[in-house]
């Protein structure tokens, strides 16, 4: 197997594990955190920041998530899913743009 496939395969394994493996948060909640879509307050604010403006996450954002009834383990999992989700979207956007710029794995000089 070429090494390129090993990088991508290792990434897929990580994504599959955090979304579909056993967790303390439901698979549905983890999928919502991964997509940064469909969570209710105050989790939506925390997860939105992790995906889009992670340096703006505060102690208060985590405290609000915990006060809403989540356990620390659930918050841990949802934050991980949000981080993996956003970085996966970047990875896939880059690979899609590359595929568009190449033909059969070679630079598409014709275009």
């Amino acid at each position: 197997m070429p090494d390129e496939d090993k990088k991508r395969a290792a990434h897929r394994t990580l994504v599959d594990r955090v979304l579909n493996g056993e967790g303390k948060a439901s698979a549905e909640q983890r999928a919502r955190a991964y997509r940064n879509d469909g969570l209710s307050p105050p989790l939506d604010a925390l997860i939105g920041k992790v995906a889009d403006t992670p340096t703006r996450v505060t102690e208060q954002d985590l405290a609000a998530a915990l006060a809403s009834g989540c356990t620390e383990d659930q918050v841990f999992e949802l934050v991980v899913c949000a981080a993996v989700g956003q970085s996966t979207r970047l990875y896939e956007a880059g690979l899609a743009a590359l595929a568009e710029a190449t033909v059969d794995g070679r630079p598409d000089h014709a275009s």
């Binding site: 390129e4 394994t13 955090v18 340096t55 993996v84 880059g94 743009a97």
Partner: protein
């Protein structure tokens, strides 16, 4: 770190390991290292495997180039812990601190080869804007970068966009220059597994 479980929720064996690391490195265990030991079955084991493949697996990019990409992506994300960690690691890998500092302050003027510069620019745009187009990729290809090298760089970018976010969300404590240097030495010797 901001969650108590990430500070104290480790098994006795893991706590002993942290104690050994502290003893031998004479530095506190970095939060980035602690995180991957917390319920490793959920995140750490697979994250380490992917990051190691991206950073140390087979590639036409050198280890120094990939550490520089990690530092650069972290710089775009303004993710302080990872900027410190991968600036130190790229600096040791290249044995060239001015080169790393120049890239992080102005990639357009830095003394690096065009293929690396074009790749860093593309990773910066993707990280900053969340998207890149075929035109951006054609520019990188025209600079002499192979499609495989672009894929390899995108894997580095994915790994550090994840770690940067976790570092900021969980509040990784910044290290001293000695702490970053010790971490860099470890990463160059052992990798991310």
């Amino acid at each position: 770190m901001r969650l108590e479980i990430l500070n104290h929720g480790y098994s006795r064996g893991t706590k002993m390991l942290f104690g050994m690391i502290k003893l031998f490195s004479r530095q506190p265990v970095p939060d980035a290292a602690k995180l991957v030991f917390y319920r490793p079955d959920f995140y750490g084991t697979h994250a380490k495997e992917f990051t190691h493949e991206a950073m140390r697996g087979e590639s036409d990019w050198s280890v120094g180039d990939r550490e520089l990409m990690a530092a650069y992506v972290s710089k775009v994300n303004e993710s302080a812990f990872c900027i410190g960690a991968h600036t130190a690691t790229a600096t040791q890998a290249y044995d060239d601190a001015p080169r790393v500092a120049a890239v992080l302050s102005d990639v357009d003027a830095a003394p690096v080869d065009e293929p690396l510069r074009a790749t860093l620019r593309m990773l910066g745009k993707l990280t900053r804007e969340g998207k890149v187009g075929a035109e951006d990729m054609r520019e990188v290809l025209a600079a002499g970068v192979t499609p495989q090298q672009i894929k390899d760089a995108l894997a580095v970018c994915a790994a550090f966009n994840t770690t940067d976010r976790l570092g900021d969300a969980f509040g990784f404590e910044l290290l001293t220059p000695e702490g970053y240097a010790a971490g860099a030495k470890y990463l160059l010797k052992r990798g991310y597994r």
